[in-house]
């Protein structure tokens, strides 16, 4: 039975139990609803909740552990020499799952692996069947137990409200859970990575070439995992992007807020915001196919040697993408500067631009700094534009005309396509992800603090 079918079955059971619960309450009331503590609907909701929720909870737990438990069962039966070697183990597990999925005829594997594949298929069938049985019986048990507990003076409404409040708390906790999930999943693999590579080498190394050897005698078998070149590349592109986004965004915000006629504003503001809604992969395509060739050809005319994947192209396009973030956030903070400050400045005979430059801008500066910092963190974490337009070579350069690579580009190239499990190469992507997460988190927290602190001033 497929998952969606199972869910449908549980939903149907819930509907049934709602009906039964309600009917029982009506029957108990003896025709007068005032004999009941709560409305009949509440009794129905009570039984439905007890029927559906435990079953769904069970499903969640089941799916979290089914994979690992089955894998542990399979692994424990494999020959000792396979278990000992993590590379061979992951290879074996791969073939096993292929065989279990019904393919893998082309594989040349030992009979133990084939057996394990069959066993895996078996176990999966058993697990699925068991899930159906267990889940449906839990749902039924919930139905029967809660049904039998219904009495005329049972506080069904209070019960239902408690349950719904608990559900809401669980939903809010998911925000925390996902942060914890991010930190743990990154941390786990990063620690793995640091057991192979010295953390100091990772943090301060000047060379990045994640090719590690599969065989010992391979050419270029020495991997180097120094993240400095990646950060230099990331910062270079971020810097270029900021050089585009900050002046354009800031001046747009000033014009939009202080000078523009309402009609112009009504057209231009949403048009600017479109820039933020365009998917990044579109910008990436634009950068790689329009901007980069344009820069290369014009560079050639000027006698400059522009690489076809240049930091400049990626940075320029990323800057365009970020303009609306800078403009709308600084628009917000500038419009929050109180009118009295402006009026005071005008009363002293200052022109509009003098007021903006010498009164509004300094007053809004902390908020603008916060906005720029938020934009920086977005630029650092941006992936698709740089993947499509920035290149793969880890150059330690500040020349914007050359190809550089960034943290996000490396994460994508390390994890897309064929992965070797447990190699330092794959694990390094998680270490990079952790650093990226921490850097952007730090920037965000700092920026939000700055913006908030400034906002309190005039509230």
């Amino acid at each position: 039975m497929s998952l969606s079918f199972l869910l449908l079955a549980v939903a149907a059971l819930c509907a049934l139990s709602f009906y039964f619960g309600r009917q029982r309450a009506v029957a108990l009331s003896g025709g007068r609803h005032s004999n009941l503590h709560s409305l009949p609907v509440h009794y129905g909701a009570y039984t439905a909740a007890w029927c559906g929720l435990p079953a769904l909870f069970l499903l969640l737990i089941w799916y979290m552990f089914q994979g690992s438990v089955i894998e542990a069962l399979i692994v424990s039966d494999l020959p000792q020499e396979v278990i000992g070697d993590s590379g061979r183990l992951s290879l074996a597990l791969n073939s096993i799952s292929q065989i279990a999925a019904g393919g893998g005829e082309h594989l040349t594997v030992s009979p133990e692996i084939v057996d394990a594949g069959r066993r895996l298929a078996n176990l999966q069938t058993i697990a699925n069947a068991a899930l159906v049985v267990v889940m449906l019986s839990v749902a039924l048990a919930g139905l029967v137990l809660s049904y039998r507990r219904i009495e005329a003076d049972m506080r069904a409404r209070n019960n239902v409200e408690r349950i719904s409040r608990a559900i809401m708390i669980v939903c809010s906790a998911i925000a925390i859970l996902s942060t914890v999930g991010i930190v743990f999943s990154l941390m786990f693999e990063t620690l793995h990575f640091f057991s192979k590579i010295n953390p100091l080498e990772f943090l301060f190394g000047l060379e990045w070439s994640p090719q590690t050897a599969i065989r010992a005698d391979q050419v270029a078998s020495e991997g180097a995992f120094g993240m400095i070149p990646l950060f230099v590349g990331t910062l270079l592109i971020t810097l270029i992007a900021m050089c585009v986004a900050v002046p354009v965004g800031l001046f747009s915000a000033i014009y939009m807020g202080e000078y523009a006629a309402p009609k112009f504003r009504a057209v231009a503001k949403p048009a600017l915001e479109i820039l933020a809604g365009v998917p990044t992969v579109v910008y990436g395509f634009f950068a790689a196919l329009t901007v980069a060739p344009f820069l290369r050809d014009n560079g050639a005319i000027l006698g400059l040697d522009v690489s076809s994947e240049s930091a400049l192209a990626a940075g320029l396009v990323m800057g365009i993408m970020i303009i609306p973030f800078v403009s709308s956030l600084s628009d917000d903070v500038m419009s929050q500067v109180p009118k009295s400050l402006r009026d005071g400045s005008y009363a002293l005979g200052a022109t509009k631009s003098e007021t903006i430059r010498q009164v509004i801008f300094p007053a809004a500066l902390p908020g603008i700094v916060g906005a720029v910092l938020l934009a920086v963190s977005r630029a650092i974490g941006e992936t698709m534009i740089v993947v499509m337009a920035a290149g793969l070579a880890a150059n330690m350069t500040v020349n914007p005309l050359q190809a550089v690579t960034t943290v996000t580009v490396q994460i994508v190239t390390l994890l897309v396509g064929d992965q070797e499990f447990d190699s330092a190469k794959t694990l390094s992507a998680f270490a990079l992800g952790l650093v990226l997460f921490l850097v952007t988190l730090g920037l965000n927290v700092f920026a939000l603090k700055v913006v908030q602190k400034y906002r309190e001033k005039y509230d």
Binding site: I254, V281, T408, I411
Partner: protein, 449 residues
Amino acid sequence: MTDMASLMEDRAAAKVISDNLRKPVDWDSPKITRNIKKRYAAERRFKSYGLVAICLALLALCTLALSIGSKGYSAFYQTYVQLEVTFDPAVIDPERTGDPDVIGRANFDGLIKQALRDRFPDVTSRSDKRDLYGIVSGGASYDLRERVLENPSLIGQTRTIWLISGDDFDMLNKGYIDPTVDEGDRRLNDKEVAWYNELVADGAVEKQFHTRFFTSGDSREPELAGIWGAAVGSFYTLLVTLALSFPIGVLAAIYLEEFAPKNRFTQIVEVNINNLAAVPSIVFGLLGLEVYLNVMHLPRSAPVVGGLTLALMTLPTIIIASRAAIKAVPPSIRQAALGLGASPVQTVTHHVLPLAMPGILTGTIIGMAQALGETAPLLMIGMVAFIVDIPGGALDPATVLPVQIYLWADSPERAFVEKTSAAIMVLLAFLVLMNGLAVYLRKKFERKW
């Protein structure tokens, strides 16, 4: 002593200033006129900087739209070549069984090749023949088969039929290959160009609307590749995202706005939501890879995993929008409900939530639009596989529209450039629709209390 001296100096300076102030200002003096002129010029300059900035941003937007549009519009048309095809019974159904299975297995490719050889009888060498066969796409044989299966009476007849052309031919017809440049610098050799010219002279080449682009899945052959597979994948992914993030987001928003006490837990939740909204999307991809694929062993490349990952990303957007919408409902409504004896949960479900729903929906649509355009996290969980089949459910391997764009952008064939641009146009059309819907909802249900 030094204090005394500096005090004296200050006094003297103050006297100079006050003397100057006492003098009536000559507003028409050349110095002041110059100064005012300068200040007004600075004012105009400053204002024009702002205008230039906006124009630059809008120019960038227009360039983006134009470059995509001009590259992509041609993908909606496809070149077809007219050939006389003989439906040879000896090839299609030698024993005259009339059995669809037999007909389905027939060598229609051979029929097309035969038709091409008949059309250009003087082509003899093997390599020339191979070039000749390139005129018609490899997918044309499927069209022929469909045609014969639909209408078996065709067998034995000779018909003139429009057949879908190969990608290089298509590019030549659309003007992307310049036949005047040196032979070594273009994809088609002189002979092929000559064949093309001959066919054009006969009126046997034309462009038709390319329905296949909207109805088929991915393919290595640009003229056969379509976006339907990716669109269906996007649909299932967004369905999972919506099914998870909408209820969870709304419930969390209700709790935080209506029920939550001010304590450690709710503070942490609030900070967390703000942070999650700003975490780089690729980090969510890493989370999905580790938790859903490596720990929970969910199927790789499946919309379920994509939807689960995107749901975590969309959640903060929905929570923040929903909280704003719930906050906008005036307290008097809650108090009236509570005063009439409704319980807190009833107050929320019967009064607050219906009133806040338009705002919540607007936020949800915007969150979904973001999720629709998201690419990076889906690369992490393996939705970049080359998948030809149209996914039949959320557990089948699939890809999504933005990832399809990414894949095509990487393809070396010239013809994929226009496909990529056209796919971008379709994606942007969806986004415009969704955002338009959000704006419409906001306008329609906007309410001042």
